[in-house]
């Protein structure tokens, strides 16, 4: 390996701009760091060159640990975005500068610079001064200068971004040729994905200082693992469906999971990526032989003809429970868009598909992204209850392995303090900060803002701190309006080792068992499912309870969770004491109870029940709404 980066971390003041980036770059590879502005990609390059101090980590070049060496001793060639060609030296003097520093004889220097200038296409211009050259020529001088002393690695920081399109293309071509000829290991930083695709042997996608994904251009385009890479690289359509019976469900359509898809569990959300060129859009329904998975009918809401192809934007409606991540759906309307590309076909007449036309939309190929885990919202108030929510929420979020948002609500004048509070939490977060941990400050009153965020953010779990009084208005509103599971935390156990799922309230639920099971699987906790039977229950009710417990056991076994089930006869007139007694006896770290849907007749009785549970225990309680 030519370059090995280990846990590279950089800070500007309190901001961490590069976060534990580890990469291995092979000899002779042309490696591209691709990311938006401010993503930290240039900082990584500067750290390799020794121009930016490391807060942590290690840089190894050609088997040599250079972490603590100054730039002079790292043997890198660096090409800057602004070229930085020395104005007072001629082109040849610029190229020879590195050799002059190394005390190479002037005849050898001359030979080398002539040879290099020929190679970069500037033969005969050695005597010119930089102010007599164009931008593209200056960039070639900078390249020749960086190569003159035969460095171990060549580092290029956005080398073409200040040039116009045509020259950029030429320079790309010559860079690639020169790199091939010399076989020098090269890292190039760019925000231009076309450039990355054309040049790279491999691409690393960088975002907010984190390494998102590393792969070959083709793999990154066709089979990315993350949503960020999928939407950042190339135009793409990403839809979110749900796993059902081993298939993906998108509204009324089911699609088979491709054989190479990462494993998904029943009821998990599935993110489906398909590129515009794999979308079928035509007035004719595709034939069986074409092997196209038809999604349904859509209408053409935008159309651009660009010679070789026709680009379409299709408006899709009537997909219940399907979300679109890209292209961004229009705000507040229950439709989404699909981008498609048709190859121009002169035989098909002047236009293939017209604006406003209704067409059949299908997919010839699609790709499934890695599962995200649960999307968690944690309300981090600066109260003891809020601290508890943050602490236990951290354990659960880590187990859920999904994107987590830390939310603080503050009055405008407390804004900065709230932000600092969240930043402190972020830094001490179990497992360290990651790309999937974001913080957010909302201005206003806590009760309404937490609810709004829960509604807008599409979360799968909301963690709230609680006092002992009971359910609380915020939790009740969230359960009622978003049907998102709510975790109420008062005291924080140090771990999640034992989980008690109570299915005693009315209908035995499926969602609560499954949700508890998912958390148990990720934390390695043991689960006990408890059903408390009414003494006067009819025998069919008993049978149903037994069936339900068997099903629960099967679900948990399927998840690979250590589980037991128990049906207990209700001895006291009230349910709650029995549950609390069991919770105490088994020393459970988390209680899970189901909640009936809002319109269910048992709702009022349930609220009373939940309040009683919460009043009689300080343990964390997870409330899971029943699936409708």
């Amino acid at each position: 390996m030519s370059i090995i980066l280990t846990d590279l971390t950089a800070r500007y003041g309190a901001d961490t701009v590069v976060n534990c980036v580890s990469l291995e770059i092979a000899d002779g590879e042309l490696f591209v760091l691709l990311g938006g502005s401010g993503s930290g990609k240039s900082t990584i390059l500067r750290m390799i060159a020794g121009l930016m101090p490391l807060a942590a980590g290690r840089v190894e070049i050609d088997g040599r640990d250079v972490t603590n060496l100054p730039p002079q001793q790292r043997d890198t060639g660096f090409v800057f975005q602004n070229y930085s060609v020395f104005q007072h030296m001629t082109v040849a003097q610029n190229v020879e500068f590195g050799l002059r520093i190394r005390r190479v004889a002037s005849s050898d220097r001359r030979r080398r610079s002539t040879e290099l200038l020929d190679q970069v296409g500037l033969g005969g211009l050695g005597a010119r001064f930089p102010d007599q050259l164009s931008g593209g020529q200056l960039q070639r001088v900078a390249l020749a200068r960086a190569l003159a002393y035969e460095p171990t690695v060549l580092l290029l920081d956005e080398p073409f971004s200040a040039l116009d399109v045509k020259i950029r293309a030429q320079l790309r071509q010559s860079l690639k040729e020169i790199q091939r000829q010399l076989g020098v290991t090269t890292i190039l930083v760019t925000h231009d994905q076309e450039e990355a695709f054309e040049l790279a042997d491999r691409i690393a996608v960088i975002e907010r200082g984190f390494l998102v994904e590393v792969d070959t251009p083709a793999a990154l385009y066709h089979k990315p693992r993350t949503e960020f890479a999928a939407t950042f690289v190339g135009g793409g359509n990403v839809l979110v469906g749900r796993m059902e019976g081993g298939h993906m469900r998108l509204g009324s359509v089911t699609l088979p999971l491709p054989p190479d898809a990462p494993p998904h569990e029943e009821d998990d959300s599935v993110r489906l990526l398909f590129r515009p060129e794999t979308v079928y859009a035509d007035a004719k329904l595709p034939s069986q032989q074409q092997g196209i998975h038809v999604l349904g009918e859509g209408s053409v809401c935008d159309e651009i003809f660009s010679g070789s192809q026709q680009r379409l934007r299709l408006e899709m409606r009537g997909f219940e429970g399907v979300r679109s991540l890209a292209p961004p759906p229009p705000y507040g309307r229950r439709i989404f868009y699909i981008d498609a590309v048709r190859i121009s076909d002169p035989a098909a007449g002047p236009v293939g598909v017209e604006l406003g036309q209704r067409v059949w939309v299908g997919l010839s190929r699609y790709h499934v992204l890695d599962p995200t885990g649960l999307k968690v919202l944690i309300a981090c108030a600066e109260t003891p209850a809020g601290q508890a929510a943050a602490a236990f929420g951290g354990l659960v979020a880590r187990a859920a392995a999904g994107p987590t948002t830390l939310l603080a609500v503050a009055e405008p004048e407390r804004m900065t303090a709230a932000r600092d509070h969240l930043e402190g939490l972020r830094r001490r977060w179990p497992g360290g900060p990651s790309l999937r941990l974001t913080s957010k400050v909302r201005l206003g009153v806590a009760a309404t803002e937490v609810l709004t965020e829960a509604q807008e953010g599409d979360y799968e779990l909301v963690v709230l701190g609680r006092q002992r009084e009971g359910l609380g208005a915020v939790a009740q509103q969230i359960l009622q309006r978003t049907e998102t599971p709510v975790l109420l935390v008062q005291e924080t156990p140090s771990q999640i080792a034992r989980i008690l799922v109570c299915t005693a309230a009315g209908e035995p639920g499926k969602s609560d068992v499954r949700f508890g099971g998912r958390i148990a699987r990720r934390t390695g906790a043991a689960v006990k499912v408890l059903h408390i039977a009414h003494p006067d229950a009819a025998s069919w009710q008993h049978r149903r309870a037994e069936q339900h417990m068997a099903a629960a056991q099967a679900v948990l076994d399927g998840l690979g969770v250590e589980a037991e089930t128990q049906i207990e006869e209700q001895r006291t007139p009230e349910l709650v004491p029995a549950i609390v007694a069991e919770a105490q006896a088994g020393d459970y770290d988390l209680l899970v109870i189901g909640a009936p849907t809002w319109r269910h007749p048992a709702r009022l009785r349930w609220t009373d029940f939940a309040t009683q549970i919460l009043r009689s225990t300080a343990r964390p309680v997870l409330i899971v709404p029943m699936a409708t």
Partner: protein
């Protein structure tokens, strides 16, 4: 639409007329008076030992000031431009302060520091070291008064010289000193030249601070401007004017050089 050719000439003519009594005629007056006794008279006046000394002393001091402040000012500009440290802003203001302080006040404060009863002077006096009323005092005063000129000419160039030029040199393998010597210094040439000329010119004409610290001692600390003033007061208008004319000529020459230096610099950029 072009205005009529004659109308175009009116504003420049007005400007020249206004400037005539303000700038042009006073300059002319020097030469008229200096030339009154004819060229032989002028040469005779200039060959007096007093006048000779004053001119030579002034040129020497101006040269010394330019050398010392050239180095010091470039160093200050480099530190203030390239290093980030606490109190940098305050230091930036302090080093530019001499432009704002009246030169007589500068002279006074130097006396209060280095004079025989001054803060440091009273410690040096028993050792027989007396910087005030001596050439050293004149140099000190001139260094103080002209300090900002070098800084002001070099720092903007350094500020605009992007960090990447230095970084490029570092990655190529040049040490800090090599980078300064081969990359930064050449880039500063134009700025340094104009800084040096400005410092030299201001030192040559310095009066307020010099008159305080020099004691105006003939053939010892009397600079050309002091000589002019002394001769004028004594009624030797011709002698005063002769030296004044020489000073004016040197200043013109320096000014032309400055123009040439800045033009060359801007020519290179475009």
């Amino acid at each position: 639409m072009n205005p009529r050719p004659k109308a175009v000439l009116v504003p420049p003519l007005l400007l020249v007329l206004t400037l005539l009594p303000l700038l042009l005629m006073p300059l002319g007056a020097i030469f008229v008076f200096a030339g009154r006794a004819g060229l032989p008279g002028l040469i005779a006046t200039l060959s007096q030992p007093d006048a000779q000394f004053a001119l030579r002393f002034s040129l020497l001091i101006a040269f010394g000031t330019a050398v010392v402040n050239g180095i010091l000012g470039t160093f200050a500009a480099y530190v203030l431009s390239k290093y980030r440290f606490r109190g940098r802003e305050a230091l930036n203001i302090v080093v530019n302060l001499p432009v704002a302080i009246p030169t007589v006040v500068v002279g006074t404060s130097l006396l209060l520091l280095w004079g025989p009863i001054g803060l440091l002077g009273q410690l040096l006096d028993p050792l027989g070291i007396q910087p005030m009323f001596a050439p050293a005092g004149v140099l000190l005063a001139h260094l103080f008064v002209t300090f900002p000129y070098m800084l002001g000419a070099v720092k903007p160039v350094l500020d605009e010289l992007e960090m990447t030029y230095e970084e490029a040199a570092y990655t190529i393998g040049a040490s800090r000193w090599q980078t300064f010597r081969h990359i930064i210094l050449p880039a500063l040439r134009g700025g340094m030249l104009s800084g040096l000329l400005m410092t030299f010119a201001h030192s040559l004409g310095e009066f307020g601070a010099t008159v305080m610290v020099s004691g105006n001692l003939r053939l010892r600390t009397q600079t050309a401007p002091l000589f002019i003033f002394a001769q004028f007061e004594a009624g030797n208008i011709e002698a005063a004017n002769a030296v004044a004319a020489v000073l004016a000529l040197i200043s013109f020459a320096i000014f032309m050089l400055l123009q040439w230096a800045t033009q060359r610099r801007s020519g290179r950029v475009s």
